[in-house]
């Protein structure tokens, strides 16, 4: 099987998520797809899986044009996407999941559980899963669930397997097993598109490599003809050195945020000082508890002990409301689930907090709110700056700007801004604007900013200082000017290998 993509383009409003992408995936080989968040990887997967309709371009399977795919026709063509968020039914057994919608029956009515379990056992053996057909999926580890999902795809005659950052949530042992499985599947003649952040995996598994940036293919390599150094420079190329130097900060000023011996479930002890105007990166992979730390600082997750001071005064972290009263705010990483009110207007989303500050005697003051919105929308370059438009209609980058505007506006008194993965799902242009907003906020207000990320580029672009997180602890701390993006990449990967 050969899947050939030519000139694939996807436009969202004014933004090009994919811009003339060419790609070829062949049976028996592993094609690695790399790129920063927002480079277009997810959109490309979406087009192959049928969830996204491309604006232009062709997808050919074995020389036959298939036009735009739907989820149904994608499966019919033997394409299976294993997303990070797995699509198994947790309340059903492994066997039930494997046969969902294609149940084996006796006499067309009765479920043939015996036969299903026998076939399921073979499928599970093929992928090396340790679980049994009658286990409940909801009780399995993420690694086992992933194997069940792969088994399900294979049972449905998948010939192209697309894995979206499959190792992100796995333990090192599970990740190693997965790598072995991927190799054996490729040897069985299955085509594999492997999306990842981890260069070690690319070095081990990939036959071909495509690097995306800003929706375009910026680098390709075939048949193992690449080195790790080439990969690092291909991913980070172009943007290193483009960032404005971080604004100078007063090294002797009293800290705006002081964290002393903070401990909680799976975290700590953490000590951290952030001076006025300083931007600190919490740098680490998924599972390093960087999000957990931010949530604890915001009172969204309970902590066991420790002290947090804002401008020298103890902060109360009993709930988000009390953290906000202590002038600490968080922009969560999962925008849709934790940040946005999708069906409410941009105005409502932005002023949900400010309307309380502005109100008098419990009554809103719409004209003042409108002024705050207009001023903030212009400060954060919101596009379109339409107050009445539902938040869900904005692009990812502009949704993120709305969430900033909720905390960073003329009536906000926030002194400590916490950001979890601030540019996830944000295109390159909006990303630069978001960096500008964060820098301006830190510099103009002498505020403290702490953000969590797994992208070295983001650390270099934005932070004064980085704290490397691993397994709930801060294992290293350094001045960002002393390290290059390549060194950071190497740091996170050697760490991963050591883990």
């Amino acid at each position: 099987m050969t899947v050939t993509i030519t000139g694939l383009t996807k436009r969202y409003g004014a933004t090009l998520a994919l811009d003339g992408v060419d790609l070829e995936i062949t049976s028996g080989s592993v094609h690695a797809l790399l790129g920063h968040n927002g480079a277009g990887k997810s959109t490309l997967i979406g087009c192959l899986g049928g969830g996204t309709v491309p604006s232009a371009g062709d997808i050919e399977i074995d020389g036959v044009r298939v036009g735009s795919l739907t989820p149904r026709t994608s499966i019919d063509h033997g394409i299976a996407v294993i997303y990070q968020h797995l699509s198994l039914v947790e309340g059903l057994t492994v066997a039930d999941n494997l046969f969902l919608g294609q149940e084996l029956t006796k006499g067309r009515v009765m479920l043939d559980r015996g036969e299903q379990n026998r076939v399921a056992l073979r499928s599970l053996e093929r992928v090396g899963a340790a679980c049994r057909p009658h286990d409940l999926v909801g009780e399995l580890s993420i690694g086992q669930r992933q194997l069940v999902e792969i088994a399900k795809a294979l049972q449905r005659d998948a010939r192209l397997l697309i894995l979206d950052e499959p190792s992100a949530a796995l333990s090192p042992v599970e990740a190693a097993n997965l790598a072995t499985l991927v190799e054996s599947l490729a040897a069985q003649g299955i085509a594999i598109l492997y999306v990842t952040h981890l260069l070690e995996e690319v070095m081990r598994l990939a036959d071909d490599v495509t690097v995306l940036r800003g929706g375009r293919v910026v680098w390709t390599a075939h048949e193992h003809e690449f080195t790790k150094a080439e990969l690092v420079s291909a991913i980070s190329d172009g943007h290193a050195g483009e960032h404005p130097a971080p604004a100078p900060i007063d090294e002797h000023a009293d800290a705006v945020l002081s964290v002393r011996d903070l401990r909680g479930p799976g975290l700590g002890p953490i000590d951290l000082d952030v001076r006025p105007g300083e931007i600190v990166a919490l740098y680490g992979l998924v599972g390093s508890s960087r999000t957990r730390l931010l949530e604890m600082l915001f009172g969204a997750r309970p902590h066991d002990s420790g002290k947090v001071l804002v401008d020298g005064r103890p902060a109360r972290l009993a709930s988000p409301a009390s953290a906000l009263a202590s002038r600490i705010a968080l922009v969560p990483g999962d925008r849709a689930a934790q940040g946005l009110f999708g069906t409410l207007s941009a105005m409502d989303n932005l002023v949900i907090r400010a309307m309380q500050t502005l109100s008098r005697g419990g009554v809103r003051r719409p004209r003042r709110e409108a002024r705050v919105f207009a001023r903030t929308a212009s400060d954060i370059s919101l596009r379109p700056a339409t107050a009445s438009l539902a938040a869900a209609r904005f692009s990812g980058g502009n949704q993120q700007k709305l969430l900033f505007g909720r905390w960073v506006n003329p009536v906000s008194d926030v002194r400590v801004l916490l950001l979890d993965d601030p540019t996830q799902g944000v295109d390159v242009g909006a990303r630069a604007e978001i960096y500008d907003v964060i820098r301006a906020f830190a510099a103009d207000h002498g505020a403290a900013v702490v953000f969590a990320t797994n992208e070295p580029e983001e650390v270099v672009a934005l932070a004064h200082r980085a704290v490397v997180m691993r397994k709930g602890r801060a294992i290293e701390e350094f001045d960002v000017r002393t390290r290059s993006e390549e060194q950071l990449l190497a740091l996170i990967h050697s760490e991963n290998a050591a883990a």
Binding site: A321, Q338, F341, L344, M355, V363, R383, F394, R406, G429
Partner: protein, 338 residues
């Protein structure tokens, strides 16, 4: 850049399709029946019926917008009515105390719902389904035989008028206006929507996500108790078994007809007004047209499902309108990204 006037107009009509349907229905029925529908006596009856529904539907709709629901109002109405009726039996008690007692027991039921659902996080549907059944029993225990003959002064609450408009209609009108002002012009009102759309995001925005639902349950109970007092005053009798049977579904139907989304986060007091009037005029029209009460039930049921269908279609239409508007604005705005 702001949306065009045309976009706003289409959006407004699409958002309240029932409003248009309502006007068409009134004209049609008035034409067929030679204007009986619009006869003042008939209209006053529709308004009084509607007012009792509206009084309960106001906090009820707000609860649904916030992602909760109060199914217990039918029994709360019965309890309030029976308590008021027992106090007034034979025309001896004080009407003021009777009304306050009805509201008080309503708040009591609301408190149980408020503690169980928003405070302890139990399912609102199950909690209020439970209180619906339990409070019905309590109402029958309070006065198994029912009460009647409450005297003229208490009767005024049901049949009295002010400037020719029934007192209950004044109460409902005031409630709708206050409700609308609350939802639009206070932060707490806006929080009701935010909680209904995304409770987690509201919590992370510093909103107390339990306070407003808690208060709304108390208001819902109070409103149902008051509606109970009005109902028994109007009937001049309080039959423990039948009072307010199925009332919670009438209220729910009116709320949903008014475009309040059962999934939360969407709806308005104007919608509630339209829903209540639509239901009242529909039933009354059927009577005017000589349709039997069995067929009236069939019609209300069909109307509800049809309204939800219309709502679903217009919802999609509205999304498409929004998308088109967003695209227009995006095209008209200079782009620097990518």
């Amino acid at each position: 850049m702001e949306p065009t006037l045309r976009h706003r107009l289409t959006t407004a009509i699409v958002a309240n399709p029932l409003f248009v349907l309502l006007l068409v229905m009134i004209v049609a029925v008035a034409a067929v029946t030679g204007g009986t529908l619009l006869n003042w006596v008939n209209l006053r009856g529709i308004l009084l019926d509607g007012a009792i529904v509206a009084i309960v539907a106001i906090p009820g709709a707000m609860l649904i917008i916030a992602g909760y629901i109060d199914l217990s109002v039918g029994s709360t109405l019965a309890l309030g009515g029976i308590v008021a009726g027992s106090i007034m039996a034979g025309g001896h008690g004080s009407p003021l105390i009777a009304v306050l007692a009805a509201i008080g027991v309503g708040i009591g039921v609301g408190l149980v719902n408020a503690i169980a659902s928003p405070l302890f996080g139990l399912s609102a549907f199950i909690t209020t389904l439970g209180t619906l059944t339990a409070v019905r029993g309590v109402a029958q225990l309070v006065n198994p035989l029912g009460a009647n003959n409450f005297g003229a002064s208490f009767g005024l609450l049901g049949v009295g008028t002010l400037l020719a408009v029934p007192i209950a209609v004044w109460i409902a009108g005031a409630g709708l206006i206050i409700g609308a002002l609350f939802l639009v012009f206070t932060p707490a009102g806006r929080h009701v929507y935010a909680i209904g759309v995304n409770s987690r995001a509201a919590h992370l925005s510093g909103v107390n996500v339990k306070r407003m639902p808690f208060i709304l349950y108390l208001v819902s109970g109070a409103a149902a108790g008051l509606a109970g007092a009005i109902t028994v005053a109007r009937l001049n009798s309080a039959p423990a078994g039948q009072l307010g049977l199925g009332f919670e579904l009438t209220v729910l139907t009116a709320i949903l007809l008014g475009g309040v989304a059962l999934t939360g986060g969407e709806g308005s007091m104007f919608g509630v007004l339209v829903g209540v009037l639509f239901l009242g005029i529909l039933n009354n029209s059927l009577i005017q047209l000589g349709v039997t009460s069995f067929w009236q039930n069939v019609a209300s049921g069909v109307a509800l499902v049809a309204a939800i269908a219309i709502g679903a279609v217009t919802h999609r239409l509205r999304l498409r309108l929004q998308a088109r508007e967003a695209e227009r604005i995006a095209r008209a705005t200079p782009v620097t990204s990518t």
